[in-house]
Every structure is written in structure tokens, then in C-alpha cells.
């Protein structure tokens, strides 16, 4: 399986600011995914990021709020823009590994907005 790292592991931010989360994979992968896990909740897919094309966003998520970059096959960033306390969540990136359809997840970024 792939080894996935995320930076930062956690952060406390003020409302109105932006935070960029980095996701690094030790192998080349085609698809990367960004999920949000709000406190005590399940995971919700934010967007799918394919290298060389625009990210595809799920209903309820927009590019202006969550811009994503995918500059190469091992790296992606998610920016949480103009943050509010409602954005306090764990943000996780994942990759689809091989053709087994399972996804492997990074350790997550715990974001607190004050």
C-alpha cells in the first residue's frame, strides 16, 4: 500500500484566514481524494483530484472555498479559505491504490477555527 503524509498535522486558525493542507504520497497515483470529518461525524468527500485536470467537487463544496491543486502524481494541496468555526474538522486525503478500489488515507489534519 501507499504511504501518505499530511502537513500540518493540526492547526488553530482565526476566522477569516486560510490554511493550505499538503498531502504527499510515496508512489505515483492517478486519483487523490479529499474528505472532511466533522467532530463526531462520518467522512464526507469534498472533491476528487486528478493530476492535470480540474478537481471535481461534491455537492455542497465549491472551488472558491476549497481550492485544490494537483501539480504532479505524488502531491496535492487543499486550501480552506475564509475560515469560520464551522470549518473545524479533520481533513483527510486518500489515494486509490492499484485497481483494488480500496483507498488508503493519510493521518489527517485537525483544524480548529476560533
Amino acid at each position: 500500500s501507499a504511504v501518505i503524509s499530511q502537513k500540518p498535522s493540526r492547526d488553530i486558525c482565526q476566522r477569516g484566514t486560510s490554511l493550505t493542507i499538503q498531502c504527499q504520497v510515496d508512489s505515483q497515483v492517478t486519483m487523490m481524494f479529499w474528505y472532511r470529518q466533522q467532530p463526531g461525524q462520518s467522512l464526507t468527500l469534498i472533491a476528487t483530484a486528478n493530476q492535470g485536470s480540474e478537481a471535481t467537487y461534491e455537492s455542497g463544496f465549491v472551488i472558491d472555498k476549497f481550492p485544490i491543486s494537483r501539480p504532479n502524481l505524488t502531491f496535492s494541496t487543499l486550501t480552506v479559505s475564509n475560515m469560520s468555526p464551522e470549518d473545524s474538522s479533520i481533513y483527510l486525503c486518500s489515494v486509490e491504490w492499484g485497481r483494488g478500489y480500496e483507498q488508503y488515507f493519510g493521518p489527517g489534519t485537525r483544524l480548529t477555527v476560533t
Binding site: S1, M31, F33, Q41, S42, L43, T44, L45, T48, N50, S53, T56, L92, S94, E96, G100, Y101, E102, Q103, Y104, F105, G106, P107, G108
Partner: protein, 116 residues
Amino acid sequence: AQSVAQPEDQVNVAEGNPLTVKCTYSVSGNPYLFWYVQYPNRGLQFLLKYITGDNLVKGSYGFEAEFNKSQTSFHLKKPSALVSDSALYFCAVSALGGGATNKLIFGTGTLLAVQP
């Protein structure tokens, strides 16, 4: 629309006893089903999957799951629970997403508490 239901918020079991964590699903077409575990302050770990083939699939840490098409269920099981199995368990189903890629839809999670 695809969906996953985990009817139990919490399951309590004594160490050494068998455990079951329930999951039912709703998909159009053939389901791809997964179980993940989340330990406190850690990311999700893949446990096992059902894509096709035998209805009983085995995964990590002694866990297994049984796919039942007629009942649209994919319950997670382990013959003998350990205290270290205490964690949050998520069932997920794969659904076609943007770019014809499978995206995961997660259940609400079940907290497994194993008492010594």
C-alpha cells in the same frame, strides 16, 4: 442514490467474546464494500473489502466480513474480541464519481468498546 447504514452507534462486548458490527447498503449495480477502522487521533486504516467472489472475506487483525446480497448486508465479525480492538469502525460503499472513478460513501460509524 448509494448509501450505507450502520444501525448501532456503539457495540459493547467482553474480551474473548465474538463481535459483530452491522452494516447494510443500498447501491445500484454490484456493490464494492469496505470496512475501515479509526483509532483515536489516527487516520483511517483499511481492514477488508468485498468486490466479487466468496461471500466471506478475511482481513487484517483477524477480522472478517460476510457479504449477503439478499439482505444487502456486510457485517464485520471477529471470533474473539481484544481490548485493543476498541475503536471506531466505518463501513463504506464505492460509487461512481467524477471522472468515472469510484468514490467512497461512508456510514456513520460504530464505536466498538471491548471490556476486559
